[in-house]
C-alpha cells in the first residue's frame, strides 16, 4: 500500500465498471425512490381525515323522559337501549357480543334475543343462553351541565369479565353501576 502513491487504478474495479455500477445505482435508486414515495402517498391517501359517520358522542334527552324498564326507541337511530332501574339509568349498546347483529327486546319475557344465532341476554346484559361469549356493552353516559340532557359516549364502553354460572355468563350488578356508566338520577 505504501508504494501505490499516484496509482488510482484499482485492479478489482475498472473505471468503466465503476461508472456502470454508479449509473445502475442512481437509476434504480431513483426508480425505487419514486415508486416508494408514490406508494407511501397512496397509503396515506387511503386513511381518510374526515369521516361522514353518525356522531359517537350524542345527547338523548333528559333523564325524566325515561321510565322504569328498557326503552327501545333509540335502537334504530343510535343503536342503544336506555334502561332505568330503581337506582338510576344505564345505556346498553345494541350489538350482540357473538358476531355483531342487533338483538331484539321482548317485553313479555324481559329478554334480549339475537335473531342471528340465538344469543339471549337479560335486562342487565348478562348472557342467559346462546353462543355469546361476553355480556352486552354499556356505554359511558354523563349529564350535560348546561341543559341537563344525557350525553352518551358510544365508543367508551364497559366490558367486565363475566363469571360462568348455571344460569349463564354473569357479572355482579353492583360493580357495573359505577361512574361513568351509571347515572343515579
Amino acid at each position: 500500500m505504501a508504494d501505490n502513491k499516484g496509482n488510482i487504478e484499482d485492479p478489482d474495479v475498472s473505471r468503466r465498471r465503476f461508472f456502470t455500477l454508479m449509473g445502475l445505482g442512481v437509476g434504480w435508486g431513483s426508480i425505487v425512490t419514486a415508486l416508494g414515495g408514490a406508494g407511501l402517498g397512496a397509503a396515506r391517501y387511503m386513511i381518510p381525515s374526515v369521516l361522514y359517520e353518525p356522531p359517537t358522542v350524542f345527547k338523548i334527552g333528559k333523564p325524566e323522559n325515561y321510565g322504569i324498564g328498557v326503552d327501545t326507541k333509540l335502537k334504530k337511530e343510535r343503536q342503544i337501549w336506555v334502561v332505568r332501574n330503581e337506582r338510576g339509568i344505564y345505556v346498553m349498546v345494541a350489538i350482540c357480543r357473538h358476531l355483531g347483529c342487533t338483538p331484539n327486546f321482548f317485553q313479555d319475557q324481559s329478554l334480549f334475543r339475537c335473531p342471528c344465532h340465538g344469543s339471549i341476554y337479560d335486562t342487565h346484559g348478562n348472557v342467559v343462553g346462546g353462543p355469546a361469549p361476553r355480556t352486552l356493552w354499556r356505554a359511558a353516559i354523563s349529564l350535560d351541565p348546561v341543559d341537563g340532557e344525557i350525553v352518551v359516549s358510544f365508543n367508551t364502553r364497559q366490558d367486565p369479565d363475566p363469571v360462568g354460572t348455571p344460569e349463564g355468563l354473569m357479572v355482579e350488578e353492583a360493580g357495573r353501576e359505577v361512574e361513568p356508566y351509571f347515572l343515579k338520577v
Partner: protein, 256 residues
C-alpha cells in the same frame, strides 16, 4: 463488497424462483435476445427484428408509447380516485372538493389524473399526425390505422365523460352542449337532418340514450360514471391490445 454482491447474484440466479421467472439468462446473443422477447409478456409487444431507422427518436418521437403510458397513469390514478368519489348529484361536487382539501395527496392524484387526460388527448393527436406524416398508415398497416381511429374516438369520449364527473358548472354546460350535438346528429338525433322523419323525438333519440333522460341529471351522471370507469376503459384496453398485436405482426415502418 463487489465480490459479495457477485456471490449473492450467483446464488440468486440458481434459485428455482429466479429461473422460473427469467428463463433465458442474460440476452447477450442474437438467439437469446429473440428468446427473451418471445417469453416476456411486456417485451413481446415489440417486434423481435426492427429496422435501425424505425427506432430513431426523430422518426417516432415515442408518441404511441407516451399515449400508452398516459393511459396506464389514468387507469391507476382513476382507481385511486374511485375510493372517494360517489356519482350522486348531492355529493359528487363535495367529494371532489374533499379530494382537494381534506384527503392527503387527493389533489395530487386528481391533478395527475386530469393532466394525464389532457396529455393523452394531445399525444393521441400527435401520434396520428406523426403516423400520417411518415406514411406509416399505408398497407400493410391500413387496418391498424382504423383501429387507431377507434382508439381516438374512445379517448375523446373518455375525456368527455370524465368532464361531467366533478359536477360543477363547467361540467354541466359542457355536457349540455355535447348532448345538444348528439340531438342534432343526422338520423339518430331528434333535431338533426332526417331525425324527425325517422320518428326521432326527445324521448327516443341519441341524446336521450346518452343522458338516460331529457336533462343532465342524476341518471346522466350515473351513466357517464359507468361509461368513464368501466365500459370505455375496457373497450379502449381491448383495442389497444389489438393495436399492439398488429404492430407486432406488421412490424415498424421505416423512414420514407
Amino acid at each position: 463488497m463487489l465480490k459479495l454482491l457477485e456471490q449473492i447474484r450467483g446464488i440468486v440466479n440458481k434459485t428455482q424462483v429466479f429461473k422460473s421467472i427469467f428463463r433465458h439468462g442474460y440476452p447477450d446473443t442474437d438467439g437469446n435476445r429473440a428468446l427473451v422477447m418471445f417469453s416476456n409478456v411486456i417485451l413481446h409487444l415489440h417486434p423481435v427484428r426492427v429496422q435501425r431507422g424505425a427506432l430513431k427518436i426523430k422518426f417516432t418521437w415515442c408518441l404511441g408509447g407516451l399515449t400508452f403510458f398516459f393511459f396506464i397513469m389514468l387507469a391507476i390514478t382513476g382507481v385511486v380516485l374511485m375510493f372517494y368519489y360517489v356519482p350522486d348529484t348531492r355529493r359528487a361536487y363535495n367529494d371532489i372538493r374533499d379530494l382537494g382539501t381534506v384527503i392527503y395527496f387527493g389533489s395530487l392524484f386528481r391533478a395527475v389524473h386530469r393532466w394525464s387526460a389532457h396529455a393523452m388527448v394531445f399525444s393521441v393527436w400527435m401520434h396520428m399526425t406523426r403516423v400520417f406524416m411518415t406514411g406509416s398508415y399505408k398497407p400493410p398497416r391500413e387496418f391498424n390505422w382504423v383501429v387507431g381511429v377507434i382508439l381516438l374516438v374512445t379517448t375523446l369520449v373518455l375525456s368527455w365523460t370524465g368532464y361531467l364527473l366533478p359536477w360543477d358548472q363547467l361540467a354541466l354546460w359542457a355536457v349540455t352542449v355535447g348532448s345538444k350535438m348528439a340531438e342534432a346528429t343526422p338520423f339518430i338525433g331528434a333535431s338533426g337532418p332526417f331525425g324527425p322523419e325517422l320518428g326521432r323525438n326527445s324521448g327516443n333519440d341519441m341524446a336521450f340514450a346518452l343522458l338516460g333522460g331529457t336533462v343532465v341529471g342524476q341518471s346522466a351522471l350515473l351513466r357517464f360514471y359507468v361509461l368513464h370507469c368501466l365500459a370505455l376503459p375496457l373497450i379502449t384496453a381491448l383495442f389497444i391490445a389489438v393495436h399492439f398485436w398488429r404492430i407486432r405482426k406488421d412490424g415498424f415502418s421505416g423512414p420514407l
